[in-house]
Amino acid sequence: MKHPVLILLLLCALALPARAQDAFTAGLTGLGTGFNQTAEAVDRLGASGDPRALPLLRALADGRLLRQADGTLLIRGDAGVQDALTNAAAEAAGAEPVRLNNRVRVALRGALGRLQLVSPDPADRQAAAEAVFRSRSAENVPLLDAALARETVPAIRARLALALAASRLMADDPQNKLLGVTALGATSSPEARAVLLEARATNPAIAAQIEEAVAAIDQRLAVRRAAETLFQGLSLGSVLLLAALGLAVTFGVMGVINMAHGEFVMLGAYTTFIVQEALRGIPMLAPWSLPLAVPAAFLVTAACGAAMERGLIRHLYGRPLETLLMTFGVGMMIQQSVRLAFGAQNREIISPPWMQGTLMLPGEIAVTQNRLWILVFSLVILGLTVAAIRFTRFGLEMRAVTQKRAIAASMGIRTGHMDALTFAFGSGIAGIAGVALSQIDNVSPNLGTGYIIDSFLVVVFGGVGSLAGTLVGAFGLGIINKILEPWAGAVLAKVFVLVAAMLFIQRKPRGLFAQKGRAAEA
């Protein structure tokens, strides 16, 4: 029972290339003998669907197709002249270019479009799908149907489906038209919406269905826009969270105001650059330079923080305004040192491949990979920070010292030591933030200055001393900013958010998550 079918299939498989070959060679007859014959040959080649027809027709369109007196076709390429059939090198002597007129050009355009639809190169097929969508006509429907059945790449499939639906809309019979309307209405593309609106004027009979489809698209577009705004807000929030988290420890928990915080973020970004350059020569480690930069940046900035706390800040405890000015001066010196060491221009940080590109979520919501990673990263760092403060010996002693220094000291905790460690911890988080920010911001000496005011507002807005407040403050300000942006513009939205945060702090000076009880009195 099975054998005859198998044999039949085998025969078909064998016959297929041979038949295609036949169609291709047969299609060539008459090419270049006269305008009408050429146009017919072009039509035949277009219908053949043979991959070899594509370079030939392209050569014809560019005027690079030559014909010798004996009918042999040659293609002039960059590497010299080749035989169109055998690809063997050939002499161009005596060959004349095949001439074109408008009829041939029209035939060429159609044939090229059809051939590109079945081209083995996905970029060709993508371009063809675009072209067919733009020049939508009913006669493309069977062609597109066939191409859609063969297509495997999802992005091209989507374009083909769109082109097919738009072409159906041009058909004469209302059944086909309605199919097109339904298919277009099921997409969430502004282009489909434009096509439908255009068709509404010429097709009063199905205006109601078109209206319905447009409304469906509008709804989906609104959802998508909202989702994208939300993601942008979350992304900005994650940047704010990263920048503010270290400050939430040094300022929020310890009460030390560090205006050099932004410079620590900048140092973290430069550490990323140094790690990247150091690992450039080691093929095994080079792809991992970004993950390796995270602990490196933490250590570098934590060491800077510890040195700064022991050397300078501890002499100014209890004098916050002086601390503010002093740390600002230190920040200035750090910035100038980096400027002299690395130059004022931006340094390039190469993103690893897994952080590049855009991710398409269901519903065609575009999400840039690096921003998504930073969002995840910021939450992980927040989790680790909370865990370090809540569940480790270090965190316990840190809380003890900040809550009641004298009692903590009498319990045998070295309070000075803890101050240095806590400040180093907060500074280290700033360094980690620098690693992440190096992916989306320019790595230059004044990278940090842009973040310092935002970070302080986030910490104060959320409530000093509350990490949950910092989380809510960062994402809240980020999302509000992105919601305002479409109708106020980026700069004005930022100004609004700054003013709103200032007003909010004046209404609730202790922030969203005000500390209650004895800690608040300290």
């Binding site: 230190v330 010196m333 910035q335 700069v491 930022k494 200032m502």
Partner: protein, 364 residues
């Protein structure tokens, strides 16, 4: 933050010495434009550059005085005084732009060049009246004063003090900077105002006009100094100092600390605005960069270096730091930011009372 009480005799002698020093200093400043008129070969000739740069420093000294009134006497560490300075400068700049009249590049009878360029059809309403000098001078004082009134009222009423207030004022100047960078604010965007022609009928590029502005600034400095002196020596000034040192205690004694601080803050903002208004015609440009938070904090360090809580200190600090800056930015430009940063650290750690404190220590 109370300053140590010096023995009365030494204190009086020191005060006398400082006043005398200040008097001589003002006199020296006063003859500078005259010395500029001497022939270039004369040994006492003062160069154009020195006169114009000193004119700038006098404006900075007024700004330092105003900041000292807020920080040194009322305990309000404002990191946004540059905003008041810049607003005063912008008000003056608007007047100067209106005076250009049809002499602009585009030759429009009323609209300044940047408005023609941006396609404005008529003057925005907030530009009306700026062609009148008295109105512009009123705005120089009123606009910074109003902003200080609003920000101060909201903050002091909510009892926002210390670093919170500092951050808030810094955010204020940052927000203003972003806003003024926008083209459609009607303030020239990125480029701000420049190409001024005249003021009160005098062409600005003549040495007579420069000398006039120099003297106007000097008079303004002396007047501001006297106002601040009078104020801080009065009973009001004593209460203000008490608020600086122990606000809660003063409040419990029955004083309305909010209104005391508010008055000092608003007056301080107006003085800063005046400084900015005198500054702009001398440098010939005003742009949103003046709002940058770094400018405001630099002004704070002038006061800290001179010695906050002493009016002479503020003036001394402004001249010292800016003199150093002018010299270093030409002699060793890379070094200047290190020196400025080191000044912040050194003053806060080793010299909390500034140069005046150093002199006081010597005298005693």
């Amino acid at each position: 933050m109370s300053l140590a009480v010096a023995p009365p005799v030494a204190d009086a002698r020191l005060r006398l010495g400082l006043r005398a020093g200040l008097g001589i200093f003002v006199l020296l400043l006063g003859i500078m434009p005259l010395l500029n008129l001497l022939p270039v070969t004369h040994p006492l000739h003062v160069s154009d550059f020195l006169v114009s740069v000193t004119g700038k420093w006098i404006c900075y000294a007024i700004l330092a005085l105003s900041l000292d009134l807020a920080w040194g006497y009322a305990g309000i560490l404002s990191l946004g005084h540059g905003a008041f300075f810049a607003l005063g400068g912008y008000a003056m700049g608007m007047h100067l732009m209106r005076l250009i009249g049809p002499r602009g590049v585009y030759g429009h009878p009323v609209l300044p060049d940047f408005m023609v360029f941006l396609g404005y059809q008529e003057l925005p309403w907030y530009w009306l009246g700026f062609d009148s000098f008295p109105f512009a001078m009123l705005m120089v004082l009123l606009v910074p004063g109003m902003l200080a009134l609003i920000v101060g009222f909201l903050s002091f009423r909510s009892r926002i003090t210390g670093v919170y207030l500092s951050i808030l004022t810094q955010a204020m100047t940052f927000a203003l900077m972003l806003a003024f960078f926008r083209n459609d604010m009607g303030f020239g965007g990125n480029n701000g105002f420049t190409d001024f022609k005249e003021l009160l009928g005098f062409a600005l590029n003549t040495s007579a006009a420069r000398a006039g502005l120099f003297y106007a600034s000097l008079v303004a400095l002396v007047l501001s100094f006297l106002i601040c002196l009078r104020l801080t020596r009065s009973k009001y000034g004593r209460v203000l100092t008490a608020i600086r040192d122990a606000e809660s205690r003063v409040r419990f004694l029955g004083y309305n600390t909010t209104s005391h601080k508010l008055f000092a803050f608003v007056l301080s903002a107006m003085l800063a605005g005046l400084a900015g208004a005198l500054y702009v015609p001398q440098v010939g440009i005003i742009n949103p960069g003046e709002f940058s938070p770094a400018n405001s904090i630099e002004a704070v360090i002038w006061v800290a270096v001179g010695g906050r809580g002493t009016l002479v200190g503020a003036v001394l600090g402004a001249f010292t730091v800016n003199g150093l800056k002018t010299w270093l930015t030409s002699a060793a430009p890379d070094l200047w930011l290190f020196v400025l940063g080191a000044l912040f650290v050194a003053v806060t750690l080793f010299l909390p009372k500034g140069l005046i404190g150093l002199i006081k220590g010597r005298v005693q």
